[in-house]
Symmetry: D3
Subunit: 128 residues, 6 copies
């Protein structure tokens, strides 16, 4: 029952943050590693995103910084740049989050993240 | 003159964020690569930290997420966990910033960052 | 109750794999981020290590390869090289796991991991 | 003669593990860096894969963990997920190898590796 | 005025090294993060590339080694392999730069970099 | 016999580049993974460092850029900063090699590498 609660709590949070895109990530895992989708919902969204102390805007901002720093995370950046917009971060704040990373990770990682942001912003008609 | 302004602006911001610890980083570079210290002041602090859109608490939070994600940045985490406290982030917010990174980078990177935070918090007598 | 089961299941598995060293990791988190310790137990050990398909020797072997590849994980390698020995991997198999990584990550990451292994093996008097 | 032996031994092992896909990697290097192809054969396959202590299933499992952890290695994962199947690992064991990495590298690296596995398994008609 | 000089100096150096490709990178940032383009010109090219002690061939060689080592930098490698050719490095020297990285980063990172080099060399008709 | 030649060729090159420090690395591996030391000599030094197209100064310069970029390679940087000095790079060229990496990897990785350089230069009394 508690696990169902973690799952439900996570599913709710996933819908709030990532919307249909998040659901797609979970669907894509069905055939090959369904438990992996369950862990994302239960652990990442049910356990972590629901915690107090930081709000969803702060959590998405941290997530973007972490993904941009790692590199090779274009698919995850796409989901979470959408998520960041969904929870109320502005395009300017998202771009600025990546710019703040330049002194710490250099230009290439930041240019890659900004290229994904540009694509997402265009699709959502936030820039022309 | 403009460069002097970038340098001065950066020096001021460095003092505001990192205090004496930041100054020590610059001093340590004097004998071997003095221009590197100047670039940190002019570019990282003069150009980036002084930008609008995000405040210093948000910038330090992003910096902590980026440094924790990279790994092998214990010295820089020490400086910026102090910086984060200096600009008003609480120990709870700092720990939570690292916890938010767990789903994206796993436990080892986060445990390493939290170990540095523990050491800094103890030194500043924020935990016993 | 289910969560208590995940926690208990994880605690049991942690004791089986890492022994007292694993417990120390959790204790060290008590003052600063106790939930982080709980997540390691519940998620890493309760959810993941208890899964079927791969046995504990295979899981530790994968963990060692992942930690060696990441770099900057000396503390975690220390715990898991001990863990690998505890679940029955031989010193030769552990060293060979790292050697298999050379073509994929190069010598530095492997040399760093082997240095930790040497230290652990000496402490357990497996090499002179 | 000894080098010819290393090369021959490596070529044989490459064929055993990676089949035609491995050969393609070597062919692609012919025009630009033929010695690089030779080093892969002689060193990675001739020197390392032929060693005792670990069998080919264990070696591919370690390789998958290392490649997934590094990130940005989609092409190499494609080759070695095929290789893992060729030497007898099941699709379940391959997926589980990646799942075991979640606590150590987080979800993004694992999701990227699982996406490549899904593509390979589909192509080999192991999943529908 | 001094800043204009840094910008002008950087623009000149960017044109010398990267030609039209570099300009394209800056143009792509116009809508989303124009200051990021300015920082690349002022800091990377105006401040760093114009320094004495190392010439442009040495600087591009270092840049290629750094980008190949990082991974996930295919777009930046494309720009800088072109840049390396523009400042006088031969295709052989570029390939050899990547080969020298093998012992330190392993084959996957190097194979990815060499694949970009092959594509650039073909486009410039340096290999058939 | 050919392998003996690779080994001998590598040993000679290792002595030329790294001197006694390189030998220490190999000695340290004796008890735990002697073949790993042999591979460093045969492959890294016998096969790679002896190749034409780039000279030893260029090779060490590339190695330093790669190690600094990776991070968590302080021990290897110590060996190769010594190696770089041994083959004729000046302290200024070594520092400049790291500075050239700043735009690509950010300040933390470069500060860590420069700290090792400072320590090596002091020990060799090249700076006061």
């Amino acid at each position: 029952m508690e696990d169902k609660t973690r799952f439900e709590r996570g599913l709710e949070k996933l819908a709030e943050v990532d919307g249909a895109v998040g659901d797609q990530v979970i669907q894509n895992l069905k055939e090959i590693a369904p438990d992996l989708g369950r862990f994302i919902i239960e652990f990442a969204f049910g356990d972590i995103y629901t915690r107090p102390t930081l709000d969803l805007k702060q959590r998405e901002c941290i997530t973007l910084a972490s993904l941009a720093t790692q590199g090779g995370t274009e698919n995850q950046l796409r989901v979470h740049i959408n998520g960041a917009l969904n929870v109320g971060l502005t395009p300017e704040e998202i771009a600025e989050t990546f710019i703040q990373c330049v002194p710490y990770v250099g230009f290439p990682r930041v240019l890659n993240a900004v290229a994904v942001a540009k694509e997402v912003f265009k699709k959502r008609e936030l820039i022309s």
